[in-house]
Structures are given as C-alpha cells and as structure tokens.
Amino acid sequence: MIPAPFEYRAPVSEEELIALLAKYGESARILAGGQSLVPALRSRAARPEVVVDLRRVAGLHAVEPADDGGLRIGAMATHGEIETSPLVAARSPLLRAVSALVGDALVRNAGTLVGSVCQADPAADEPAALAALDATVEVAGPGGTRIVKAADFLQGPFETALEPEEYVRAVRVPPAGGESAYRREPLGRLGWALAGAACRIALEDGRVKEARVAVTGVAPRVYRAFALEEALLGHEAVALARSLRAGELAGEVVRGQEILGDARASAEYRRHLAALLARRAILKALGAAGGGRVP
C-alpha cells in the first residue's frame, strides 16, 4: 500500500540529527536500511509524522577496529558489509556467520545491524549473537553518549532502552574470549529464527571459566539464559559435554522465561527447540574451546 503522509528529513551531521530528534521526539522514526520501517510504513502499521534518514549523516557508516582489540560497527553498516568484512571475520567470526543468515542478499545489502538491534524483533538472529558476545550499544542524545549492554538494551518485543530523542551511533563488540557458536531453526524461506541460541564459552585448565548463552525466537525478547550460564561455570569440559548430551540442564535454558506459542509454533515446541539449540551451540563451542579433547 501507500504510506500515510509524513515529512522526510535527511540531516548531514549528528548535531543536526540531535536537533531534529529533540524537536520531533516520539513523532519521528529513524530510517537506516529501511528493511523493517519501510514495510511498516507501507502497511501503515507505522505512522510517524517525520522520517529522519541517517543516510547522509557523516561518520555512521564505518566498520572499524576498536582500541581494545574489538570492533565498532556504525549505525549505517549493513549486514552485507559485516558479512564480507575481513576485519569482522578476523575479530568476530560469530558475528560474521550470523550476519550471513539474515534474510536474503537484497535484505543484507540494505539492512543494518544497528537497525536490527533497534527494531528489537524478538526473533532476530544478530541481537542474540551480540548478547552472547557482551556487545554494548553506543546511545547518543542531547545529554551526550551512554553505553548500554546489548542484552539490557533489548527490553521487549520491539522495545528498547532508547529514549525518543536518542539514537544509536554504533554497536561495540569487545574482543571475543573463548569460542562461540550459533544454532537456529529458521522459519520458512526467508524467515527469522523460530528459535536460535548463541553461546560463548571460555575454558581455563579444562574447566568452564566464562559462559554466555543468549536465546532468540522463543520469548518476547532476546534474553541471556543466566541460570544456565551459572550452571555451566566450573564444569570440566568433557564431563559437561557428556551430561549435556544426556539432556541435563535443558530446563535451565528457558528458566524464568515466558515462552511464546502462536500459529507458527507452540510454546512446547519452542521450549524444546530452545533447549536443543542451546545444547548444540554449547557443544560446538565446547568442542572448539577444548581443542579436540571434547567429543
């Protein structure tokens, strides 16, 4: 269909962007790659008075190395740029692999990682990977810049910690400690994850020293499975792999979470998939971290 009327603004600097957002507040929507906003405009599900396009704002496009050995990914960097960046491949193979799973080539060439984070779709792939990687979100606004953990930034279905006059300048991915993996069950041809689990495991002397597990697709938001992370700590890798295979700890994956059931999949199936995919991702990461010792 045709969008309801709106005003279009394309600021060229962050100062101008901040001024526009301060002026229009909640009646404005920010346009980056447009892969979520444009369909919402066309179906009139979104009816902002003003659309503020980031395209011409200087300094938001970079995928660059961070001083701490990690990455800084600008608001306008596309999934495709991340997927093909040698820098990302070297510093965060998980993020590279997960970016390649988004939509199809057309979507990846237009859509942005930051756009996906701001959309906070509860079934998106990249936010899960970012949460497992301890990534942070660089939120800018009239009061300056604040840094929010990715897992805290995602607050509910299509809800974030962003205030109306704020925008996300970049996502920061710290240097990856340990090994990481992502497993998903896709929904249909170009679908989001019906369920997906990202994990990162660091071993010390053969025992789990650090564990991160983030789950997407099954709850109203992408979440960190803290109960499971805690339960993994300190375990000897080989024994842990064995007990995971035996189905232990499965309940920890969804502990305390409201699991969704709808026409696409029942809550029971989603709960099953979350536990299964988390197990598969952990086993994969354990195997890599254990350097061939973990079966």
């Binding site: 269909m1 896709p186 249909g188 679908g191 199936y269």
Partner: protein, 725 residues
C-alpha cells in the same frame, strides 16, 4: 490497426487515471450496516465513494454456474457486497481519488458498521455442492478383494504468492460507447465476456488487453475474472471519460485474493495380496471458501485423472464441497489436479507398505496395458510413456543403490526416506472425458497469423503473456511453419482487439493448445504464400517446393520477400490480396503429460526439520521447443511441489536447495499437431507426492505415523515424539 493501449487510458496524459482504494469488511457472515463516507468525501483529492447501491444501475451480478455439479448454489459475482460480508476482506466500498495516497488516506475515513455475525450458531458443514462419478462394479470388486485399506489425506487451501500482484485500469469512452481494460488477467476473452455481461455493453465494444505479469509458475492472478476488475470497469463507466485504476496491495492479497482450494480425501483401495490393484474409491471434501471465484470453474476438471495411470477395474469419485468463511477459491482443479494425484500416490505407498511390497514395483505392475485402451476414468494416457518414465527414473536415480544407502544410513541411526511417485496430467483437455464436466466456456485456442508486405510476420494469440519462454516458443512454431527466420516473427498476446477468442493461459495448455493454433494458422498462411508463388511461377501449387526461404519449381524460383510483396502489390491474386489466416484449435484429446519422481529426504528427529537431499524427475513433456525453458519450467514445478510438501508457506531456502536432476523423454504427443505436452503443473503434483512419500517413508523407519503436507518441523517432531516411548 490496433490503437496503442497507453493512449486509451491516458496514462501518459496530464490527467492520469483515477485511483481506487477498496474498503473491505472485517468480520465474516456479518450483515452490512450503514456506510458513512461523509468524512472521506471531504478529504482532499477524493472524487467519490461508492457502495453496492451506487453501482446497482451500472453493474449487474454475474451468475456463477459450475457445470456438472449437483446442488450447487453459489452467490453471483458482485463488484461490492450487497448486504452480507461473507468473508473477512470482502469489498464493501470503493474510494476513488486523484492519487493512490489520497484514495488510501480517504479509505481509512470510511466508517462501516457491521451487525454481529448472521448465524454464529450455525456450525457444521455448509454444503456447497456434490458430485459422484463411477465406472465398473465397485461393490463387487470390494467384496471379493483379498485386501482393502483406507487412507486419509489432506491439503490445506493455499494463497498463491505471486511475484507481481493483480492490477487493472479501465476507461469508458461515452462518445463511442466503448470500454477498454488493461488487466493482469490471463484470460482476456473471459474477462471481456464478464465485463460485457456486468455492464450491459456489447461484447464487441469491450476490449481487454492482458498485461500478464507474475511469471509463468507464480501467476499474479490465476482467476480469469476478479470482482475488483468488474468494480473498476463499473467505476470507469460512472466516471467517464476518466480512466480508473486499482492495484492490489500485498496486505489485500494475503487477506482477500482468491485461493487455491484445500481438500481432504478418504481413499479406499481394494487389492490382491500380490499387489494387483482392483478398485479405488476417493471420497473428497473440498473447502470452497466463499464459493468459486469466477464462472466456469469446476473441481471435476482436476479429477479427470483421479485414478492415475493405473488399471483399476472399478473406480468411484465422490466429491462434496463446503463453504467456509474465507475468500473465494479456484475450485478449478484443487491445485491443478495435484490434490487427487497426491492422495492416490500416497495411498499406493501405504498399500505397498501394508503388503510389504516395493512401491515402485506396485506402480509398474498396475499401469494399464495399451490394449485396455484407457485409464479407469477413460482418458487415454499412453501407458508405455509412463512406464518408460518410471524405468528411466529408477535407472537414472540409481534407485537400487539408494535403497541400500537408506538401509546403511538407518543402521547408523539416521532418519532417511525414499519416495517415488508417478504424475499424469491431462493438459489442454478439449472435450469432456471421464469425470470431466461438459464444456462451459471455450477451451480451445485460436490464433491469427498475418504476413506483411515486407515479409515480417505478426502472430496474434488469445493466450496471455507468460514470460519470454512462451513468446519464443510461439515465434519458433510460426517461423517453422512459414519457413522464415524466428526474428521475422513478432507475437502479440492477449488482446481481444487483436486476436481471436481463446480460453487464455492456464497451466499446461499454453503450448499444447495455443501453440497448435499458431501452427495451424501459420500453415494456412503458408498455403496462401505457396498459391501466390505458384501463380508467379505459372505452375500448379503442388509443384512448388521450398528451397531455403525461396519458393521453387523446377529450375525457377521466387524469393519469399517477392511473394510477400506481390501478395500486396500484385494485380492478379489467386484468391484476393493479403496474407492472413485465423485458425481455431480444438484439442482432439488431452495432451497428457507424465512424469516419474524420486525423492530422498532426511529428517533431523530432534528438530523435526525435513530436507530433500536429492530429487530426480523424468518427464515426458512432448516435443520440446526450448530445452532451457522446459528445464526451468520443470525445476520450478518441482521446487513448488517440495515447498508444498514440506512447509507450505515456507520452503527450501537458497542454501537448502536440493540437488535436482531432470530428464525429458520427448515423445510426440498424439493429442495435438505440434506434439506438445504441459510441464510445470504436472511436475508440481509429482514432486509433492514423491516428497510426501519420502517423508512418510522416513517416519515409517522411525515407527512414526505419517503427516499430511505441509510437513512442518513441529508436526514432524510431534509425530516422531509420539512414536518414542
């Protein structure tokens, strides 16, 4: 000469067509109350808001009859709802404005009040129609059979997902009293007839041009007539001389576009213990939605081969249709006959499993023999071709090796399944046969071939454009018959102002029927060229031969170009000036396409995800005009079939695309002069059935019950979980 279509609509003029936004009802079976358009009428750019009452004098209901059905009571085709909203999305009002945005903005201001559902209390089946067909003594065969089994199978209704959606623009010229419409319909002559009947304008004063679109395998509009097209034409009449236009939005398509009907069947088969099939009864319930989307659609047409290529001694088909609170359906064939084919092919696998026989062998042993003349439904389908397709399939796919691969992998704990299916499809059906109903509308094709003074060739066909493949094939057929280069031929599609009446494009008939008409018209034109050449060469016609492009007799010859020039500039024509011929082609019998499919499927028992690892198909698609186009058509049909088998709305993603291997037999179809047969639709049914059989085989290997298509991961996971204690 035909007027350029752009001028008819003033698309390029400063006053562009008026745009229509349709207000749709939200609840099913509700009585329509007041429509308050006051606010919408005050909105900028709005030229009018119309409800059923406003159109009543302009636009009459078109009765929908479906030949061959009993107790059929269908609501007529109406531009807008006349008081009842039968399904969510039914059009109730139209807003006309200068731009699409103005129309869409104003449509949101129209207030429609709907009373509570008319008869919520009425549950249970609302019978739409029924029909029965049988041959042989079914009861006797069932009585004396050593074995009988009943099997249930269902396919849900499907919303086609085209690449391009429906669109129409229409303009009424009050001076001339003519109506012109450019539409995405693929049956321009059927649409012209409907517009003429609805608006009371002489059919000769209505011109419809089919703009095609949507691609061959995923048509934007399979329905020959859409109620929105009648609405737009009626508005064009009221708002003349302005042109009026409507384009379907993706949301409207998902909500209210005509669907492909869903159906459920109970198939009972009687057999001997050695696998000889004796009798078949198919009891099918069709979900008709709000009824047929257009006149002349009959579910019986897809049932013409419900007994497949097998030599049942008795067969019976019982059909009943029920209304549902959903958009109108095609009814036409219940997915082009794929439903009946798939139900039967699944049942045969269950028979083979119950009798512990090899499924491919059961099929081969039961193909009817040539001397039996015809299949159980009386349609001749050339069993040797089916047998050859099956044998070539088993050989090409290495079926024996695949069976041992399956055993080895199962021993390793993997969940794998093999499925075979045969597919037969009666394309370009022509006259009635078996359960096919008597013909209601034209099912023939027609074409006009005109050779111009310069030797250039114009072909006009009533077929709608379906992509460059068909255009090239038709040009090649005309060029071959006329003895000219393909580049000399240009093909004009789907213009009622240019070509003779034709049933239009529908699956499996473009080439067999449309191509045959072009071939006959081109041969008739060539005969005229030959007559003129004979008069130039002063010899009897039978002495004229073709040498390259030239016409020759003995050592004298005259070039093709000279013959064409003389046809227009000469003075002594043997039979009048000009070279033009129109031919109607009425298929003598169906051009039966057949194919054999094999699918290797693996399951992840933990997630329930099924994946087609390999799919092999051997098809007899008749004489091929372009191998490349035929392969693309076949592969597209197979991928659509796999999608329908495994995930319905989803399907194989790019990375999961199975390994496809296809081959053609290329036998000449005796059903038509160019020996063509259909491809894609037959492949769809075959791939759907083979994949469903492979999934069932994999589940059987796990001790789990079978699952109807689409076998979504969750349904497979549940079936597998149930089987595990």
């Amino acid at each position: 000469m035909v007027q350029p279509i752009d001028d008819l609509f003033g698309i390029s003029s400063p006053r562009r067509p008026l745009q229509v936004a349709i207000v749709r009802g939200e609840v099913a079976r509700a009585s329509l109350g007041r429509i308050d358009a006051a606010e919408a009428l005050r909105a900028p750019g709005v030229r009018g808001v119309f409800a059923y009452e406003d159109l009543r004098r302009t636009c009459a209901p078109i009765p929908i009859g479906v030949p061959g059905l009993e107790e059929a009571r269908f609501s007529p085709l109406l531009a807008l709802s006349d008081g009842e909203v039968r399904y969510p999305g039914e059009p109730v009002a139209a807003v006309v404005a200068e731009t699409i945005s103005a129309a869409a903005d104003a449509a949101e201001l129209v207030r429609v009040s709907c009373a509570a559902p008319l008869d919520v209390a009425t549950s249970g089946e609302r019978r739409a129609f029924s029909s029965t067909w049988s041959s042989g003594d079914l009861e006797a065969e069932f009585r004396k059979a050593e074995w009988r089994g009943t099997f249930r199978f269902a396919l849900p209704a499907e919303v086609p997902r085209p690449l391009e959606l429906s669109s129409v623009v229409a303009r009424f010229d009050p001076g001339a009293g003519t109506l012109a419409a450019l539409s995405s319909s693929r049956s321009p002559h059927a649409l012209r007839r409907a517009l003429s009947a609805a608006l009371g304008i002489s059919e000769a004063k209505v011109r419809v041009v089919s703009a095609g679109g949507g691609g061959a395998a995923r048509p934007g509009s399979w329905a020959p007539v859409r109620r929105e097209e009648i609405l737009v034409a009626a508005l064009a009449r009221l708002l003349a001389p302005r042109a009026v236009s409507w384009t379907e939005s993706p949301e409207e398509h998902a909500l209210a576009a005509p669907r492909l009907a869903g159906a459920a069947a109970e198939v009972t088969i009687a057999a001997r213990r050695d696998g000889r099939l004796l009798a078949l009864r198919a009891d099918a319930a069709i979900e008709a939605g709000a009824g047929p989307a257009a006149p002349d659609l009959s579910p019986l047409r897809g049932a013409a081969l419900f007994a497949g290529p097998y030599a049942f001694l008795a067969a019976e088909l019982r059909l009943r249709g029920a209304f549902a609170d959903s958009p109108p359906t095609d009814l036409l064939a219940v997915r082009g006959g794929a439903f009946f084919a798939c139900a039967l092919e699944r049942a045969i696998d269950e028979v083979a499993a119950a009798l512990e026989l090899e499924p491919a062998e059961v099929r081969r042993a039961n193909l009817y023999r040539e001397e039996e003349c015809a299949s159980a439904t009386g349609v001749r389908i050339e069993p040797p071709r089916v047998r050859e397709a099956l044998d070539r399939l088993l050989e090409r796919s290495g079926a024996a090796a695949l069976r041992s691969e399956r055993r080895v992998r199962r021993e390793r704990g993997e969940a794998v399944g093999l499925g075979v299916a045969l597919a037969v499809e009666a394309c370009a059906r022509g006259r009635a046969s078996g359960p096919s109903p008597p013909r209601a509308a034209e099912e023939w094709s027609a074409a006009t071939v005109r050779v111009l003074e310069t030797g250039a060739v114009e072909v006009a066909t009533g077929m709608a454009p379906r992509g460059p493949g068909l255009e090239r094939a038709l040009a090649r057929i005309a060029a071959g018959a006329l003895g000219v280069a393909e580049s000399a031929v240009s093909v004009r599609f789907g213009d009622t102002g240019a070509g003779p009446p034709d049933a239009g494009a529908s699956p499996g008939r473009s080439l067999p029927a449309g191509g045959s008409a072009v071939e006959r018209a081109a041969r008739a034109a060539e005969a005229r060229l030959r007559a003129i050449a004979a008069s130039i060469l002063r010899v009897p016609e039978e002495y004229v031969q073709r040498w390259g492009g030239d016409f020759a007799a003995g050592d004298r010859s005259v070039s093709y170009e000279e013959v064409c020039r003389r046809a227009y500039r000469g003075s002594d024509f043997p039979s009048g000036p000009g070279i033009e011929a129109t031919a109607y082609y009425d298929p003598e019998g169906p051009a039966v396409a057949c194919g054999a499919h094999l699918s290797l499927v693996s399951l992840d028992p933990e997630t329930g995800r099924a994946r087609v690892e390999r799919h092999v198909a051997v098809h007899d698609a008749g004489v091929l005009r372009s191998r490349e186009t035929a392969e693309a058509d076949l592969e597209e049909g197979i991928l659509r079939g796999i999608e329908a088998a495994l995930e319905g709305a989803g399907g194989p993603s790019g990375s999961e695309k199975p390994e496809l291997r296809v081959a053609f037999l290329e036998s000449r179809s005796p059903g038509n002069p160019i020996g063509a047969r259909g491809i894609g639709e037959c492949a769809y049914g075959g791939a759907l059935a083979a994949t469903a059989n492979a999934v069932a085989d994999a589940l059987r290997g796990l001790g789990a019950r079978s699952v109807d298509p689409p076998a979504s991961p969750e349904r497979l996971w549940r079936a597998i979980a149930e089987a595990r204690p």
